[in-house]
Subunit: 338 residues, 2 copies
Amino acid sequence: MAAPKKLGQQTVMFQNPPVIAATATIVGPKEGQGPLAHTFDKVVEDPYYAEKCWEKAERRMLEEVMQTVIKKAVLAPANIDYLLAGDLLNQIISAGFTARSLGIPFIGLYGACATMYEGLALGAILIDGGFADYVVVGASSHYSTAERQYRFPTEQGVQRPPTAQWTVTGAGAALLARTGAGPVVTHATIGKVLDLGQGDPNDFGSAMAPAAADTIVRHLQDTARGPQDFDLFLTGDLGIYGKGLADQLVRERGFDIGNKFADCGTMIYDHQKQDTHAGGSGCACAAVVTCGYLMQQMLTGKIKRVLGVATGALLSPLTTKQGETIPVIAHAVAIEMR
Amino acid sequence: MAAPKKLGQQTVMFQNPPVIAATATIVGPKEGQGPLAHTFDKVVEDPYYAEKCWEKAERRMLEEVMQTVIKKAVLAPANIDYLLAGDLLNQIISAGFTARSLGIPFIGLYGACATMYEGLALGAILIDGGFADYVVVGASSHYSTAERQYRFPTEQGVQRPPTAQWTVTGAGAALLARTGAGPVVTHATIGKVLDLGQGDPNDFGSAMAPAAADTIVRHLQDTARGPQDFDLFLTGDLGIYGKGLADQLVRERGFDIGNKFADCGTMIYDHQKQDTHAGGSGCACAAVVTCGYLMQQMLTGKIKRVLGVATGALLSPLTTKQGETIPVIAHAVAIEMR
């Protein structure tokens, strides 16, 4: 029998921490004008990416980062044991169609904007458990595919409230390996679904903050670590309002992460100049900032240990119309350079 | 380092096969009039299940089977390490809202009608890998939620072609445990996404048949086993046309499973009397027949070893409108009584 690897209630510790052997990112034009532009592999100026529709553009981006990350690791799709992916579109079509073109055994995930971290956690579990040597994990989103599915056709020009976030156009992928050089995934904390009764689909950040706070606190308690053990706590897409709230909620539970707390959603755009309101969101937000910016920071030694925490709002347009509030989740993965 | 557990290209073998310690099922009125009615825990006569809408009825069914399966195993939600679930609705709302009410760390899955088997495979991986002691896996679907999301409002009374299948109303759940009595999961084969160019969303069975055949053949090749080693090959929801096609495709690749081949979709209804055309479909089809009928057959010694194979069509209504054909996948899990 394998030795139990659980720590506390919700965290697993990897005995042979899987390596993030390579990452790849691609973003759209707006992200290419933002402050993290230099951390992405490729900026696409055309939101259609030469495809007939935005959905096909999003899919092309996800396919491309998958192919790129496999090439960067000097491997071929046939070497990869599992492809773990998901996105925001109904029936996760970006991921499903990408899996069709790559021909890698596919595990489809849905964790809304937490999907990349759900995948990193499961990918590390597959490798550390002895079930895989190589796993590719990825997620994508696209401003225009998300707007028309979740809110309004962009052509309609509906005014956005200040708490609204801007869905990141792009895709990120990471290749996890049993051995090799690079940052390693040491722990994963799978979140519980919470719901504090927030029902405003124009303020996801505030809705998701309690989930982020809960998973961060749970991780610290399960691993008997504190803020001093990390260089950075990086959340996925809380945005300005959600980040402030999460900071406060973590503090109320006895941990002060304030001066080490960053949020991908507040970093990816210059929200004053770029009119992105509360910040970035979408599956690609955590995916591209983790696979781009964060990996650069780790590989250049600027950040040694990070707790990455991506949050997801598990609602649908239908549940909102049916009067439901917003269930939220956050998954965390601890990554370190050794 | 954990010993590699991969067999061949796509199969993993469990060193300490996880036990299916309990299962629970609930179905709607039509399934309650079908030939497998006696194998389900509960038949609900009201398709609304006393809720205001069909989506809430589906969710209530999924919540109830989760609670039932945990009670049957004499456990509480706090004992369960992970909840793995998914469904057909956009943003897998049945699963997400169920996870909210249960408070168990949640891994959201999307594998269309293959979701139950994606979950069984991952659940067994989590336990055999040493990451969990107890995992609950479940899936749901509802005729009326699926019809109005994927096809037409049922009120419209659109005529269905003979190849159309009938989405099963119900939910099934299985509790996997590290130790205990019951059938064990010995192997899992995660499928690749195939697409043979079938684009008719009214004939999913034929579209999915190649995926079922590929995963069955891959499992037999990876494990160096043949049809003689199994009592049953049970597919999820190929229906009449898809089952015939899968049988033929497996035969063309050198294996004759014909006299041991059953399909949940052809079993759950009396398709002559119940006007269900090509048979049942939906996430709940494989889930309730596996957790109901199959478990009964295994626990009473009538079936000793089965290869369960659930197929999923990874399209969306949008991809069909955008001219795409249907990508399909099949995941297999080998279960045996010891």
